[in-house]
Symmetry: D2
Subunit: 344 residues, 4 copies
Amino acid sequence: MIRFESDYSEGAHPEILQRLLETNMEQTAGYGEDHYCQSAAARIKALCGREDADVHFLVGGTQANLTVISSMLRPHQGVISAATGHIFVHESGAIEATGHKVLPVESADGKLTSDQVRAVYEGHWRDATHEHMVQPGMVYISHPTENGTTYTKEELTALSGVCRECGLPLYMDGARLGYGLMSVGNTLELEDIATLCDVFYIGGTKAGALFGEAVVIVNPELKKDFRYLMKQRGGMLAKGRLLGLQFDTLFRDGLYLRMAAHAVEQAMRIKKALVSKGFSLLYDSHTNQQFPILSASDVDRLAGKYAFHLWQNMADGMKAIRFCSSWATRPEDVDELIRDIDAL
Amino acid sequence: MIRFESDYSEGAHPEILQRLLETNMEQTAGYGEDHYCQSAAARIKALCGREDADVHFLVGGTQANLTVISSMLRPHQGVISAATGHIFVHESGAIEATGHKVLPVESADGKLTSDQVRAVYEGHWRDATHEHMVQPGMVYISHPTENGTTYTKEELTALSGVCRECGLPLYMDGARLGYGLMSVGNTLELEDIATLCDVFYIGGTKAGALFGEAVVIVNPELKKDFRYLMKQRGGMLAKGRLLGLQFDTLFRDGLYLRMAAHAVEQAMRIKKALVSKGFSLLYDSHTNQQFPILSASDVDRLAGKYAFHLWQNMADGMKAIRFCSSWATRPEDVDELIRDIDAL
Amino acid sequence: MIRFESDYSEGAHPEILQRLLETNMEQTAGYGEDHYCQSAAARIKALCGREDADVHFLVGGTQANLTVISSMLRPHQGVISAATGHIFVHESGAIEATGHKVLPVESADGKLTSDQVRAVYEGHWRDATHEHMVQPGMVYISHPTENGTTYTKEELTALSGVCRECGLPLYMDGARLGYGLMSVGNTLELEDIATLCDVFYIGGTKAGALFGEAVVIVNPELKKDFRYLMKQRGGMLAKGRLLGLQFDTLFRDGLYLRMAAHAVEQAMRIKKALVSKGFSLLYDSHTNQQFPILSASDVDRLAGKYAFHLWQNMADGMKAIRFCSSWATRPEDVDELIRDIDAL
Amino acid sequence: MIRFESDYSEGAHPEILQRLLETNMEQTAGYGEDHYCQSAAARIKALCGREDADVHFLVGGTQANLTVISSMLRPHQGVISAATGHIFVHESGAIEATGHKVLPVESADGKLTSDQVRAVYEGHWRDATHEHMVQPGMVYISHPTENGTTYTKEELTALSGVCRECGLPLYMDGARLGYGLMSVGNTLELEDIATLCDVFYIGGTKAGALFGEAVVIVNPELKKDFRYLMKQRGGMLAKGRLLGLQFDTLFRDGLYLRMAAHAVEQAMRIKKALVSKGFSLLYDSHTNQQFPILSASDVDRLAGKYAFHLWQNMADGMKAIRFCSSWATRPEDVDELIRDIDAL
């Protein structure tokens, strides 16, 4: 079985394990106050061009989302999200469990537009009974989205502009941020993101680390007491150095982007094979996730040999599936998949 | 200005005030443990045909909804509701503030069908990642709905059947229950509701009381410790007798239903005038709320003389408005409205 | 049975009922946006000497406390309170249910001192692990306290000074505020309270209204969006005019203070009788609650004829009980109690 | 600097790292549904003598505590804990953030007695106003406690008996469970714990793992839907195998207990030196934490060479400090500490 199931099926890049081994017996302070966390934070701030940012390391994505979002809202406020957003669909009500409603906006491709955000905002304030409704308090986006799509610099600039006009802080879930930065035709650099968003996180779990997400808080008003909130929500790792060390390794000489580039390259090879063969794609993804629409019989033929995610049953009986590549994807496995696609 | 704006514009039926006066200097125990509460509860249980039910008196609808719903769910569970439901739209995130997601279902008329509930339930459990999603834990309906529509006995029986099959307790928000019981062609009696629902409330605020809602808990598993929850959520009135006395008055000789019948009768007169004149209705309501669709100029002509609620701007430039009658609606005011409708 | 059990055993002062009757058929806007609420708020602001304050009307004390406190804190913050405070002991965990810890401080008489607050604050920030502890975020006091004791102007000035120095907003629960204002030797006027506190409420339920508490927000930073929070917590009364009308009546010509003065006068008569007879008092209360310590047999002798609250079993087998007077206490009933005390 | 500061200063036991390396490129299912988690769970169930238990792996202790406790309580219930308990003092209000009060009980040594639990329970139900108070819903203990003290089999049996009598599920925080099992004179085995508690966790973070805690749910009523709650609270690790693999390694051939035995052995050597020298101990700990009381000057003399935790300033100017040993403590470092203690 060759697996294209997810980007978190293996452990971590060997360099990371190597450093864990080398530093294992070193004694450090706990709770993220060690020199590895400091070094990793310094690297991230430099890459973002924001020496003034705060960087915190959390273990996982749902934890990062719930901690960040609940730190940014007052009790009567909700968070605007695409209806396909991870926080609306796949976090078991983690945001609601902190007391806040997710305000969903329909989206064909997983992205929010500046017009949509403006419409939600203006719709709220125009309603005579708005005090009886959840007040939009911030905006959540993911980049790349759960559908593999990405924001252009122009799109994020427009979105950020509307957010600032409306007083809605903008938060980007970057669980797969590396794949966005390395996506084909990308125009959105880390510095742009740090300029346009108020808070974002750089995902490690789905990008070659054992685990870990680096939350970057740019907006000074949102920095206060974040470590209390991490502790309260169960997200302050005792051996915080494990997170610092991983991000230090990811960002000391470009490993993070190299791994993402590899994954995207392999995904593009698969995409090209699918398109050449005439298959439709559910979303036009330039990242490490590809969503071809196949007949049930083609799906069955591939299923014996490859693991992949069954994404959606289409109205006409066809099936959308997801192939996912990662730092660990072997080119020869992709060669084989391409041969089998050609043979469908 | 003649007001058809809402069913809570006046104080209370004079009989209620009269009894408040008569009993004012009596000393009673607090927190709902007085004999008026006992008497009112006994009357309600008898009318429901459920001597075994628990009856509690709360001050308002949002308070009743949040207290009941949060008492029925475990933290990872959500409540299925029509997307037009009061808890989803108009309670400022009260349910989410208790930690729970409202799971919205699109509905043209404000009602949920048994098929819709089954689909949500089965969809959840069929999804391979259901542990990452909010688990449906109960069903919320309103009767009449926010749109003035009502459930037939057949519909509620079907809905209740699916709920029991799926292990989803059924909760009915009866803020306007009286108008449902007195609606034209009604087939659903209080005893049916007490048989088919697990919990429901009989609304006082919008039905002639100063304030107050009587929560009826039928399902024995849901009774435990409800008074703690009332206290915790701020819903246990110190002078609970004020609630008991009102409901005792509403139910000792049929006042509750008489008032509702009056309101529905006046609404039906308005409806008939609208239909005769050829106006469309946004919803087919047999209760005290009517939703005609008028041209903007007709709306303007009425607006000078009558107060009503602007409900919805239609796609074609027409406007849906809401006329609301109550126990206090004067027939001569309705006469005048009918004349003005005829003259449009 | 003559009842000295509580100050909320009867309905309301007849003037209040009279006005409910007079205005019953008037149609008004809902949710506190009527002219009675406006008028009552204006009167309260004038009496406080704070035209810039916001005044909101809520139904009950627990509701007021949970709504105000949860509006003032961030998620990792707690509220400092005397360990005897209502929010720590008698609200079924209402504050915790909004996500916040109550930080208790031992107090012999129910009051907090400025030194105690400073000690909690400094203790927190001095602790090397303070990020692992609940951060003190505000201070809750009651005046009079649950024990009938009161703050002097000097004490409240000191407390307020420390609170402002430490950045801890000060909130006063005034469930029995009138009795404090009319207490023997009182030095603390409404204007002082409005100057020294950030938020406080003027209690109606225990002071002659049917129900209702008037929350006064003085600190501009704490005003924002309070109506959303009222709605979300179930505390926005549909017929808000019922609250406005009551407070308008209480404050239009001094009724509130007249009723409190009557209650305190009767309590002082009881106190004098107790002290003359040589009984100890658990707390030195100058308000409408008195806490004599009696032998079990004396308690039994009184219990046949009078209702009172059994407050505390003393270590030596004696019993502290509570006599409570109110606007409705009849002087002839107090005469009789005094005779029976003398005869013990 | 020789560090006796904490038991989580280093990485993990080399065997654990070795297995991470060996299995790194293996592809597994995510979210704890891999064969390493299954194997580790099977080993733990066997060691507990409870094949019917559920075992879940979480990343850290605060996360485990908040997830378990909030899964066990209804909204109006609180958790009884020693006032020194980690959940009451050092989790930034994590339990309150899930809506529940921690009900503290004073304890000289960090332990709860069966009498104390009974007193809290009976005190609650005897109080006439218990519906206005937080209902005790479960009991939290730590073993060893934060003070290094441990329960005997007899004590835990008594405590468990009272808990069952009172209908209060018993939860043990075993962050340092290994040190308890290997403590000098221990009478409480894993099988006893699994028989006497309803839920407990076996700590990895402070016992030689990189991170991770194994929650064992014995009581069948508490098992339902726990994985949803893990996900909702941010505690379901994407690469769950990292937890499974570590616990599989800890329990496949006794590594967990061997490491704990080593730590306790070194701590006992330190204890003996302290006692021989005539120093008092704040608590009588038979585990890996020792709390001697030294003069300020002795503390200063040691502080230049050793890292330790300043635990408490004593009333007489003396200082209680904490020495902590672990699997990584080198005997030669202890030799040196002993020499320096002797020389004080």
